[in-house]
Amino acid sequence: MRHNTKAYKIFTIFNYTFLLLAAVLCLLPLVHILAVSLSGSAAAAANAVTFFPVDFTLDAYEKTVGNENFIRSLMISVVRVILGTAVSMSLLLCAAYSLSKSDSEFKGRKIYTWFFVFTMLFNGGLVPTYIIVTQLNLTDTMWALVLPTAINAFNLILLLNFFRTSVPKSLEEAAFIDGANHFQIFLRIYLPISVPAIATISLFTMVFHWNSWFDGLIYMTDARNYPLSTFLQTVIVQQDFSKMALNAEILRNLSQRTVQAAQIFIAAVPMLIVYPFIQRYFVKGIVLGAEKE
């Protein structure tokens, strides 16, 4: 499907240039942060670092990674991401399958859908959710981090729309005629064809779980149970100086910019590794869909 008109060639040059510029613009802050994280704290405090480290040092990384709780938190975060994504995606995919049917095919679809849409717009807030989680004895367990956020109506609606637009009805009908039931059609037709969509929503869910830190703080009473993002919050915190008893000794450690930068970088790295891997499925989906013809 190449296009060889002159106009298209000019467009291509423009297009590549534009995308390259945009990419550079988006990369700059991260490069800056990397440079700061590798710089001496005095230079960072003076804001003298732009895109290259000044007074190169790995101190900031040592301070973060050197903590004995770091590996532990990292593990907890990894488990949280896998478990959280698995739980959330299973629930959402099943529901999205049913809800992607037309009203006539699935009586009650409308009620279910609005039921979920409602959760997107209304929520009880921190206090009641906390009470429920404590009442269910989920504090200090992984489930406190996984279950309350498992149903994301936004993702559900995206999924059901992807199902509708990308799964050819003809395939489904043919399968029904062959005697397949809904479970089989869901597993054998819907899931394989919707791989790009599933990859997309999984990515969002993973990113969400990787980045969330507040629930870890609220639901884990033992600091050893903090997921990485929560742990990193404890390494650097915006301190309320006005209420601290200050003395010189405390403040020696306070030029934290470099540590903060290291933290951001550490938090971003795993997703940098995972994302390109997931991108394979954006393309694979088409091929699979085409095969099914």
């Binding site: 802050p29 679809r109 209304f122 206090v127 009641p128 149903i151 637009t165 009805k169 790009p196």
Partner: protein, 342 residues
């Protein structure tokens, strides 16, 4: 064939290539219009009804989880009508009726704050659909896979940086004292602009920096939608002699339309969320006039009062407005694009 304007794909058979292709490959055509099933509808309905329990069974687990973790806590919304005291709980805290809502509207700057919120969020919604769409379409024209994937990954990166960090970086870049941006515009003879301290510039700065941070997110959604476009549609268009631009206009965009509508409608749910983290990290007394939004206001009140009730009341108000708008969006999408988004 009239190629003057693109038409929503849900509108039956108005897009020329959909018609073409419908002739060639009826199954594909049907797949493009999920809700408007042609003739075999009634027949299928019958044997589907029998299997309805399976559909119910598939939704059931999600319903249970939502009931426990989303609906049960909604009981806590009564707090909006109470003077909630943690030690008294929901049952014993004194009732105050609509007091919190009254306080909100009696606030001298309420009109200004709500207006700021609306202006900022509406602009954000528009640009957060348009810009990612353009990016997805441009990326779709890239055939060097490594380049495509690299760009795609990189524009998603700023999403990982919190506004605390980006706020700091922005302050440096936009500084009237030799910040990068002011140096550049200085080259073309423009005096330094105090972007973050000037009421004319604050909102554009907020919108543009938001696009910078979040474009990658929706771009991914739209790219996933692009991959779902049926290749046979393009073939039909090419047969018809359409160039790439026309293909984009009459095949790609119409095919993506359902997802575009979904994304746009869902973002209506954010109409009163202009982005707390961003504003909070960028605003200052010099730009309260154009930059103070509902959430930053509620935050400041919370700092003084420290209670949960008022925040819940404002949250409930926001939810109600969002709900009305989402329903409206849903209706409009159905009426004009003939598409049920959920």
């Amino acid at each position: 064939m009239g190629l003057e304007k693109p038409l929503p794909q849900g509108d039956e058979d108005k897009s020329p290539y959909l018609v073409e292709k419908a002739d060639k490959n009826p199954n594909k055509a049907v797949s493009q219009k999920p809700d408007k099933q042609p003739k075999p509808k009634k027949k299928r309905q019958k044997w589907n009804m029998k299997r309805n329990w399976q559909l119910h069974a598939l939704v059931f687990p999600a319903v249970v989880v939502a009931l426990i973790f989303q609906y049960a806590p909604m009981g806590g919304l009564v707090m909006a009508f109470q003077d909630y005291k943690p030690w008294l709980g929901f049952f014993n805290s004194p009732w105050v009726g609509l007091d919190h809502f009254r306080t909100m509207f009696a606030y001298d700057d309420a009109r200004q704050v709500i207006w700021n919120t609306l202006v900022i969020s509406v602009l954000k919604i528009i640009f957060q659909v348009l810009v990612p769409l353009v990016f997805a379409l441009l990326l779709n024209e890239v055939y060097k896979m490594t380049f495509k994937r690299t760009v795609q990954t990189i524009i998603y990166l700023p999403h990982f940086l919190s506004w605390v960090i980006l706020g700091g970086i922005l302050m440096d870049m936009l500084s009237p004292d030799g910040g990068l941006v002011n140096q550049v515009i200085g080259l073309i003879g423009i005096d330094p602009i105090f972007f973050l301290g000037d009421n004319t510039w604050f909102r554009p700065t907020v919108i543009i920096s938001d696009i910078w941070k979040e474009t990658g997110f929706n771009t991914i959604v739209f790219l996933a939608a692009v991959t779902a476009v049926n290749p046979t549609l393009y073939e039909a268009a090419i047969m018809d002699g359409a160039n790439r631009w026309k293909q984009t206009l009459f095949v790609t965009i119409p095919s993506m339309l359902p997802i575009i509508i979904v994304v746009a409608t869902l973002s209506l749910g954010n109409i009163l969320n202009a982005g707390f983290d961003q504003i909070f990290n960028l605003y200052n007394p010099l730009v309260y006039e154009t930059g103070d939004i509902i959430d930053t206001y509620v935050y400041r009140v919370g700092l003084i009062n420290g209670d949960f009730s008022y925040g819940t009341a404002v949250g409930l108000f926001k939810s109600l407005i969002s709900f009305v708008l989402v329903v409206l969006g849903y209706r409009l999408a159905y009426k004009y694009a003939d598409y049920r988004i959920f």
